[in-house]
Each structure stands twice: as C-alpha cells, then as structure tokens.
C-alpha cells in the first residue's frame, strides 16, 4: 500500500482495492465496519491504514464476523450515519441474514463486493458468482470495468443510495484478482470537489432513531387479515419503486460526476461500436477491456461487431438494453457466473427477457467464462464474436459455450 504523503496527491498508482479505499476516504463516511476475506483483504488493510494515519476520519469497527459487520452498520445507518463496508464470497454468505434485510429497511449503505467465485470447488479467485447470487435481494448493483471506475463509483454510490427517491443500499462490484490486485494510475478527485458533489448527507429522519421522537422501526407487518396484507404490499411496492427510481438517479449522478470531475462513465450501459453493428456481445466488469480490443480486431477484419457493457445490473436497465439490442441482428452474452437453474449465465437470462420486448427475433448465445480467476483474453472474445456471427447464418448453440473449457 502507498505510504502516506504529506499533502494528498492528485494521482496515485494503486490496485482496485486501494482505489475503493480512496473512494471511501473521499466520501467521508461516519462509520466503517469491515472483516477481511480474500480477495477483499487488502481493501480492509488500506482502510485501517488510512484510519490509523488520520486520512480516514470515520469510526472503524472491527467486528468478529460479517454478520456483525452489517448488523453494526444497520444500527449506525438507523442513527443517521453514512456507512461503508466491503466483503467477498464466503463473507457475503455469512452476512446474508442482515444483508437480505437491509434494502427493506431502506438503509442507504454502500458495500463493495470484491467478486469471487463461490465454494465449492474450493477456490479463492475472482468470478461473479457471489454477487450474482444476491441479485434479487434488493440491493442496487453496479459493476466496474476499470480501477479508476471503482474509486469514482464508490463516491457516486453514496449519492445514489442517499437520494430521497431511492433510499436503498448499493453494491459496488469489482472483480476479484484482475481489478482488486490490478495496479494502474488512478486520479484522485480533490476533497473539496467531492464534498460539493456529495453535499450534506440527506439523513432520512423519518426512520432515523431520535430519542426525542421515539418510534418503532420495522414492526411486524403482513399476515392474512386486517391491515397487514395491504401494508406489506405498500412497503414492497415502495421498494420496487425506489429501485426503478434509481435508474434515473444513477444517470443523473453519473452526469453530475462528469461535470464535476471531467470523467464520464456510462451509467447504465455502454454501447461500443454498436450503431452500425450486425451483431454484438454483452459484457460486464473487467472483462470489457479485452472484449473491446477483440471488437476492434474484428472490425479491422471487416466484421461489423459491437459491444454492450452492463454497468448497472440491478435495477436492470430494461429500456436502455432494449434500445441497444434493437440495433443488432444477433447477440452473445458473456457471463462470469452461472445460473444453475437455467443452464446459462444470469445476465443471459436478463438479455433473453429484454429480447422478448422487441418485435423482431434476435438469436442469443450464452457464453460462460472467467470463473474462479480464469482469464478472459481477446482470443476468448474473438471466439465469442465468431460464434455470435455464425448465428446470423442459423447456427445457434442451444447450450452455453464455456470459454475457458479448452484453456491449458
């Protein structure tokens, strides 16, 4: 980890975990609770070092495990604090009970998931299986492509989460290994700029605990009679509305960020060389850079290839995806995880759902790769592009194509 400089530099050279920690520092949370778990551990170490050096002015809670981490932060959030944590794979699993409860409580927490494949087989490497396994819990999920985007998205996540029309927790997902340990130059926004960008924390005092205004939070709701069913439906509907509101808020926050700091990240989806494309692949996370290189190589061979990158995965940007898919005649979806129930990638299912809203039929292939630290190189994407192109001539694989199956 970088040694502490006297004056804060304008850029640092660091990996994705340290970039996330810098994003936390700049967002000035009131409380941070973290428990180390590979490949997130160096993020925790960076935060602890920043706190020890006085760079991070937040209360650091060292809990005995992830279940306590999130329970502690729920309390802090309910007292109006800005809170942050980070976890990965087995840590996320151990955190599940409070994790599943956080969105319903409408707590604007920010948590990095340093993505890792799930056990078993025993593995400690990156893959999206952990984050994808919790895609329907009600947390917002954004996936980063670059180390810079991790820092920037952690900052933006607080603004999204705390927006009064959203009030939901956000997972900023960054790939274990290739992003968590990938070292790049990262620009540090000035603290004053971030303070202005984030503004004063918009504490929702309707739920925040206040001894002068005692109230019950999260009373027993539901059941088969009386006011319960209608009340429960109202809460759920409100939660769904918050998720849908988040789509617009995420776009606004990314636009604001670009205006403040001059760096523009695609908020929901990024379309790459798509406008005149015959076919495209859909990517998510750090695989996207190599995939863009492969698209450029295909273009250089005269192929009309394009790419759609997913940044915001939950809520799913249905309209933006329909618009993007409407430009192509065939699509291949590259997932870094699997849906065991559907024998395809989870993102592939979302694309299939989106395609059902289009008038035309667009063949879609599921590619699965990059599991458990496996690398996805331009050569893998060249194969994905070629297989997708072949569906234009009617060759549609009905089972997923496993991109690393023949790696040696």
């Amino acid at each position: 980890m970088s040694a502490l400089p006297q004056a804060r530099p304008q850029h640092v050279v660091c990996d994705g975990n340290e970039a996330a920690a810098w994003g936390v520092v700049l967002s000035r949370p009131d409380m941070v609770a973290v428990y180390p778990i590979t490949p997130q551990t160096s993020l925790v170490e960076a935060l602890a070092q920043f706190a020890a050096d006085g760079v991070l002015d937040a209360e650091m809670v060292e809990a005995e495990g992830e279940h306590s981490v999130l329970s502690v932060l729920q309390g802090a959030c309910l007292a109006g604090a800005r809170t942050y944590t980070a976890t990965s794979g087995p840590g996320l699993a151990f955190m599940f009970e409070p994790y599943i409860r956080t969105p319903g409580l409408r707590l604007p927490m920010v948590m990095s998931i340093v993505t890792r494949d799930t056990l078993s087989p025993q593995c400690v490497w990156g893959g999206h299986q952990d984050a994808m396994s919790v895609r329907e819990i009600g947390w917002i999920q954004m996936y980063c492509e670059t180390v810079q985007e991790i820092l920037d998205t952690v900052i933006m996540a607080f603004k999204v989460a705390e927006h009064r029309d959203v009030m939901l927790p956000v997972n900023v997902c960054h790939d274990g290994n290739y992003l968590s340990f990938g070292v790049c130059r990262v620009d540090l926004p000035a603290q004053g700029g971030v303070d202005t960008f984030l503004g004063k924390p918009d504490t929702n005092w309707h739920v925040a605990l206040d001894p002068d205004r005692p109230m019950g939070v999260d009373p027993l709701t539901g059941g088969g009679g009386g006011p319960g069913p209608a009340l429960f439906a109202r809460y759920r509907k409100g939660q769904c509305r918050g998720m849908q509101n988040a789509l617009g808020v995420i776009e606004d926050v990314h636009r604001d960020f670009g205006e403040h700091f001059g760096r523009r990240h695609a908020p929901l989806l990024e379309e790459y060389r798509l406008d005149d494309a015959d076919y495209a692949i859909v990517t998510i996370g750090s695989m996207t850079g190599a995939a863009k290189d492969a698209v450029d190589e295909a273009r250089a061979r005269g192929q009309r290839a394009g790419l759609i990158k997913v940044k915001t995965y939950r809520p799913f940007p249905l309209q933006a995806m329909a618009q993007a898919l409407g430009k192509v005649k065939a699509v291949g979806v590259v997932d870094r995880s699997v849906s065991f129930g559907w024998n395809c990638g989870p993102l592939h299912q979302d694309v299939l759902g989106t395609l059902a809203t289009l008038p035309q039929r667009v063949p879609a292939v599921s590619f699965i790769g990059g599991l458990a630290g496996a690398d996805l190189t331009p050569a893998h994407f060249a194969r994905a592009l070629q297989t997708t192109a072949q569906t234009l001539a009617g060759a549609l694989p009905l089972a997923p194509v496993w991109l690393n199956e023949s790696d040696r």
Partner: protein, 176 residues
C-alpha cells in the same frame, strides 16, 4: 512487489501501466508471477500476458517448477537472477538480449536473506533501458512503504543490481 514498484516508476515517466499479480493461497515459497504492460497509449485489457517481450526471473530456482519461457516472443529480453555465466544457461533461441545478475549473492550480503526484488529491478533497468534508475529510486522512496534502514538497504540493492548486471546481446542463431 517488484511489478508494483516498476508500475510506479513507469507512471512517473508518463507511461500508461497495468500490472496484474497472479498467485494462489497465502503461503511462502510458492511460485508467483506478475504481468506488467506499459504503453504511450491507454491500456484497456486487464489480462495476464501469454507472449512476453521481456521475462524478469528473480529466483534462480523457479525454472525447476515452471517453464518461464512459455510463450516467449521473437527478439525477447531475459533478465535473470543467476550466478552462472551466459554459456552455462540453456536459453531458448528467441532470447536476443540477456541481463544476468547474481541477485541472491547480493541479497544475502545486503538483507541476509534471498530477497531479490529491488536488485532485479536495477538489473531490469540496466538490461532494458526502458525505465530510469532515478524513477525506480523515486518509486522506492515515495511509494514502497519502506523507511529508514529498510529503505536504505533497498536503495543500495537497486543500485547494486544496476551496477553489476552483465548485459549480453545474443546473435541470432541460424535456423536449424
């Protein structure tokens, strides 16, 4: 650690850099690799390297466990920690330039342990000319997380690696 420091130094020289380490469970002594790309233009791919232009091997024994020359490109560069002479090494024909440094010997002298990272960074600077020694020194001072005696030892190690590395240009042998 060496790849991280090299990344810092190259960024200070205005390059775009991506360095990706690759390792398994936390245990000492296991073979580890790190992959570093640098360019004048931004680098998009966050992937390992399969066809290296340059191989820096900081442990003379690691070649017993892995083929360090796997995927090596034509006209490649090798920076090797070894006490052997060039003629005693069995190098693949693609190696066109080799920098040899008795890094373990120097490390035992300076650190009393076979830690060769900074020595081999000096050797890399000397062999390749792709990074300035001053940039590596600045990276070590500013970003290495080292201070006092440890910093002085590593600065000395860097300089010794640079000084003692023997650089050999290897004539391309005729194709068999």
């Amino acid at each position: 650690m060496a790849a991280n420091l090299l990344a810092h130094a190259l960024v200070e020289e205005g390059k775009h850099v991506v360095a990706i380490p690759s390792f398994g469970f936390e245990r000492r002594g296991a073979p580890v690799a790190a992959f570093l790309r640098f360019d004048e233009a931004p680098i998009r791919r966050m992937t390992n390297i399969y066809e290296p232009d340059c191989i820096v091997c900081i442990d003379p024994t690691v070649a017993r466990a892995v083929n360090i020359f796997d995927g090596i490109r034509e006209n490649a560069m090798l920076v090797q920690a070894t006490r052997k002479a060039l003629g005693e090494l069995n190098l693949p024909r693609q190696v066109a330039r080799a920098g040899l440094c008795d890094a373990v010997g120097i490390a035992l002298e300076i650190f009393r342990r076979p830690i060769t990272n900074t020595i081999m960074l000096g050797a890399f600077a000397r062999t390749s000319g792709l990074v300035r020694l001053e940039s590596l020194q600045a990276a070590l001072r500013g970003e290495g997380g080292l201070r006092d005696a440890a910093l002085e030892q590593n600065l000395a190690a860097l300089a010794r690696g640079y000084e003692v590395t023997a650089v050999h240009a290897i004539e391309r042998r005729a194709a068999a």
